[in-house]
């Protein structure tokens, strides 16, 4: 009964979404309807939560009469992955998408007390329309609670690559980010209906943008971390279309965060801010389409089972098409905002926006070009790092170069020279660091050294800006302390996020340029040299996991005879799906990591067994994951700023 009750709750959620959209859109000037719409938004979320709970129950109890459980679970799977299996498949992940979409709607209904009644009602109406589209798709085209008449004895299990704690948490964070932009989208459409996009609107939108962007940052980082240690190739970003799909809304979200500040502080760029708000969720939907339609495996796979892909594409066309059509119609009537000089913080943010949007365009091109080429009958092409190194990287490098100048330049009419003057120390430190890297680190790499300089420039710039604000070194200590404690959290959030970007840049440049690899087939007792380290394969034993069998290597890592660590990489075999995965062993050495993979067993030259052991020395790799976490933390710190709580409605 639980499963069917879940299926009923899903149908009820769809009906409630229809009610919510009608009530919300009609409720702009009719409080009774608007209030009912708020109730509907809350009820929709609770109904989807009930359906989602029913799905989790089906996974935990291994109810193989539910088709999705039979296809993605197994009785021997550990409990965590039974639960995570609920969103490990296409159908389940669409339900998760709906859960988060309706949760954001309910959050607007509950926390939006400080919003004008008509705006709030219309936001909920638009959010309800999005809910109708996605819930209808989930209910009728990918229902995770669909039943089987003849349940199989055992399930087919979840892909073992996905049985990993980071990947269990990755989709919820990613979707919290993706779908968070739906609220921003709804605010934009509602504002276009109302014809009012001003500083107040920008302030109301900002917390939702901050939340979505920060959570998306966490989601992408978890995904990169998973790719790093689970795929066993030693890399963390492959410019793979699936990764690009999540990166594009992130870039647009970053642009939106900045342009919304201009609209909030100066009332300017309102049209552009609305445009980005519409674009951010459009890219989220594009990501969902790319990942979920099967079009990425091959455009032909998409042609074999076109229903889902075509439906997702239709949903995207309806939602974004309507949003942008409304924009084209109403944007010219938006009131122009405050004027600003070419040398001002506004201008620098505009430049930042142009660069971020252009960078997004290159990622979009690199992602879609192979699909378009294949679709029009050309050969299969893959667009890889060389393309992005030539297009995306220079654009972003330019954006990072001007970044520290922005916060040090005044609004309206600034003095770039003064800002540059204040950044002198940061610039000297950056150039020295880059030069040192170029001279000291072998082999010599000019571009990577320049990248390191850029990273130090960002961190130095963020610290300089904070120092200028608190008058460090220029005012007596009591005043500095007063300023330190008096600065709003939003400011610290910005400092943290910009410094985090610098930290990431350092890690990414250092690791990419100077990682060391070595691989060899080793018999027990064999040794492999990895940079300054020696890896010795001491023994290989077998391990019985909960749902896998594994060979575990014991690899002693030494450096000039001194023990460094003992690594235990595994090669796991999952009988349920007949799949093997490698479990990477990581040895932390400060910011660096030694990364060891145990390959398949094979015959050595003397006929005895040997294992392909691959080792990577990844310098500063920890910074690659630490940087984005600092950025996300910065976003969340800004979100906790009391000035934004007004927007959330806690203080009327």
């Amino acid at each position: 009964m639980i499963t069917e009750l879940g299926a009923f709750a899903l149908a009820l959620a769809l009906a409630l979404s229809i009610a919510q959209s009608a009530l919300g859109l009609l409720g702009g000037r009719r409080p009774a309807l608007a209030g009912a719409g708020e109730g509907a938004a809350l009820a929709t979320f609770l109904a989807v939560a009930a359906a989602f709970s029913a799905l989790i129950v089906a996974f935990v109890t291994s109810d193989f009469s539910v088709a999705n459980v039979a296809a993605n679970s197994h009785t021997a799977k550990p409990l965590l992955y039974k639960v995570a299996g609920a969103w490990g498949s296409h159908e389940g992940s669409m339900l998760l998408w709906c859960l988060i979409l309706t949760a954001y709607g309910a959050a607007v209904a509950v926390f939006g007390k400080g919003l004008p009644a008509s705006l709030k009602s219309r936001v909920l109406g638009v959010q309800g329309l999005l809910g109708v589209l996605f819930l209808a798709y989930t209910t009728f085209a990918s229902n995770p609670l669909a039943r089987l008449i003849e349940p199989p004895i055992e399930g087919r299990s979840l892909n073992p690559l996905l049985q990993d704690p980071a990947l269990a948490a990755h989709p919820p964070f990613l979707y919290l980010g993706y779908v968070g932009f739906s609220v921003v989208f709804s605010f934009a459409v509602a504002a276009l209906i109302e014809g009012r996009v001003d500083a107040a609107w920008a302030r109301w939108v900002r917390p939702w943008t901050l939340a979505a962007w920060s959570l998306l940052t966490v989601g992408i980082t978890l995904g990169a971390f998973w790719a790093y240690y689970e795929l066993g190739w030693g890399g963390w970003w492959f410019w793979d279309p699936v990764e690009n799909a999540s990166f594009m809304p992130w870039l647009i979200g970053a642009a939106l965060l900045h342009s919304a500040i201009v609209t909030e502080k100066r009332g300017a760029l309102s049209g552009w801010t609305v445009f980005l708000a519409l674009a951010a969720f459009t890219f989220s939907m594009l990501g969902a389409f790319l990942v979920r339609s099967g079009v990425l495996t091959s455009v032909h796979a998409f042609a074999v089972d076109p229903t889902r892909g075509v439906l997702l594409l239709t949903i995207m066309a309806i939602a974004s098409g309507a949003g942008f059509a409304l924009f084209a119609w109403r944007a010219p009537a938006l009131a122009p905002g405050g004027v600003f000089a070419p040398a001002s913080r506004e201008s620098l943010i505009v430049l930042n926006n142009i660069l971020l949007t252009a960078a997004t365009a290159t990622v979009l091109l690199g992602t879609l070009f192979p699909l378009i080429r294949e679709a029009i009958g050309g050969e299969t092409v893959s667009v890889g790092p060389p393309f992005f190194n030539l297009t995306f990287v220079p654009l972003m490098a330019l954006a990072l170069m001007i970044l520290p100048l922005g916060p040090l330049t005044a609004w309206k009419r600034g003095d770039l020279r003064r800002g540059a003057d204040q950044l002198k120390v940061a610039a000297i430190v950056a150039v020295l660091a880059g030069a040192t890297a170029y001279v000291m680190v072998s082999p010599r790499k000019a571009m990577a050294s320049a990248g390191l300089a850029l990273g130090f420039w960002l961190i130095g710039g963020a610290l300089t800006e904070a120092a200028v604000r608190v008058k460090a070194f220029r005012a007596p200590w009591p005043e500095v302390r007063r300023r330190l404690t008096g600065l709003p959290r939003g400011t610290w959030g910005m400092t943290l996020a910009h410094a985090g970007l610098g930290v990431f840049t350092l890690g990414a440049c250092f690791e990419t340029a100077w990682k060391v690899e070595a691989a060899e087939a080793l018999a027990v007792g064999g040794q492999l040299r990895l940079g300054g380290y020696e890896l010795s394969l001491d023994e290989v034993g077998t391990v019985d996991g909960p749902n896998y069998l594994a060979e575990r290597g014991v690899i002693r890592v030494t450096r000039s005879g001194k023990a460094v660590c003992t690594a235990l990489p595994e090669r796991r075999f999952f009988p349920a799906g007949r799949q093997s995965t490698s479990e990477v062993a990581l040895c932390n050495r400060g910011l660096d990591q030694i990364y060891i993979v145990l390959g398949e067993r094979r015959a050595a030259a003397d006929g005895g067994p040997a294992w392909l052991v691959r080792g990577y020395f990844n310098p500063w790799v920890q910074l690659i994951f630490l940087g984005p976490l600092l950025m996300a933390l910065g976003g969340l710190l800004s979100l906790s700023d009391r000035r934004l709580r007004l927007a959330a409605g806690n203080r009327p």
Partner: protein, 357 residues
């Protein structure tokens, strides 16, 4: 079914209740001033606050104040005439009433009314209660899997599990079960022999190293083990030691009792081997080098390129080799990596594409 509709009605009633509650609360709310005013006022207050704490220079304070004040006035002017507000509680009530009905229609179109939950534990309990004669091998295997969890030291239970898994066509699960069984009772020749047989089945009839070890162990525990004697002799024949193998089979035939049903089959097999001078069943043509050896060479090449990737010819050879071995995934991965390395060398890119054909 009855309970289901009661629960569904309760869910619907809760949802309708939330809508009506929201409607009543909103209708009762007095239309206040535009919240945008509060935002702008707040912005002004913030500027004052920053100025008071000396965080904003004086000229910036003046400019910012003037601008924020202008925005405040604009909003105040625009919201002086509120729109007409009408009470539509009856409409809200109608929507709250219709929504559950719509939900029922949508559920009947998308759900499976009356389909019961079938948690695994409950299905397993049903199978255990059933007469084993009515269950097919996969169901028996499922029951046995549960039994060995309860009796983890019962070698006999693992043997039955292996039998059920084997008849269900899952040789891998069968060998796993038998490995547990021989670990529990290493003195039982029948378990070792069964393990050897499962290995033979896994290897599509080939008697590999693991199988030979298992049969040898069976023979050690019980020198009369029929199965072990049969397969070890067969392994000799496969290795080309025809005389020894045939001698083993003949001795086995001689030791079988007169009425044994397997005598005829074995005698026929001996005759066929004598006639053909080797095993009759189609073995892979021996002239080909061993597939495993080829694979080993290719993997060594892959490992070498992994460590020292600057070898265009090596990459082309690797792509070609994976292509011949039918490893499309590895082929594409190697090709993609090489394409990345030699993106500026069209000749190598062409050679890679040709090698992948």
């Amino acid at each position: 079914m009855f309970a289901f509709w009661i629960a569904a009605a309760a869910l619907s009633a809760g949802a309708a209740g939330l809508m009506l509650r929201g409607s009543r609360a909103a209708a009762a709310r007095v239309a206040g001033e535009d919240p945008a005013l509060a935002v702008h006022r707040r912005q002004l207050a913030e500027i004052d606050d920053l100025a008071a704490r000396d965080l904003l220079p004086a000229d910036a304070v003046r400019a910012a104040r003037a601008e924020a004040a202008r925005r405040l006035l604009t909003v105040a002017g625009a919201t002086a005439t509120p729109g007409s507000v009408s009470d539509r509680r009856r409409t809200a009530l109608a929507v709250a009433a219709v929504t559950p009905l719509l939900a029922v229609v949508l559920y009947l179109a998308s759900g499976a009314p009356g389909a019961p939950d079938q948690p695994y534990a409950q299905r397993l309990a049903d199978w255990r209660k059933a007469d084993p004669a009515t269950l097919d091998p996969p169901h028996i295997a499922a029951v046995m899997r549960a039994i060995v969890v309860e009796r983890p030291t019962d070698a006999e239970a693992f043997k039955h599990l292996a039998l059920a898994e084997m008849t269900s066509g899952d040789a891998m699960a069968a060998s796993a079960a038998l490995r547990r069984a021989v670990a529990l009772a290493p003195e039982r020749a029948d378990l070792w022999a069964a393990l050897g047989e499962v290995f033979v089945a896994e290897g599509d009839g080939e008697i590999g190293v693991d199988a030979r070890k298992a049969f040898a162990e069976a023979l050690k525990q019980d020198p009369t083990s029929l199965s072990a004697r049969y397969f070890l002799a067969r392994a000799d024949i496969a290795d080309g030691k025809l005389a020894e193998g045939l001698a083993g089979w003949r001795a086995l035939l001689a030791s079988l009792p007169a009425g044994d049903s397997s005598r005829a089959g074995l005698a026929a097999e001996i005759a066929a081997v004598e006639k053909a001078g080797g095993l009759v069943q189609a073995q892979p043509a021996p002239a080909q080098p061993d597939a495993a050896a080829i694979r080993g060479m290719v993997e060594r090449l892959a490992a070498r390129l992994d460590g020292a990737p600057d070898d265009p010819e090596g990459w082309v050879r690797l792509v070609k080799a994976w292509s011949v071995l039918g490893e499309t995934g590895k082929r594409d991965a190697a090709r993609a990596r090489a394409r990345g390395l030699y993106a500026d060398r069209p000749d190598i890119l062409r050679a890679l594409d040709e090698a992948a054909q």
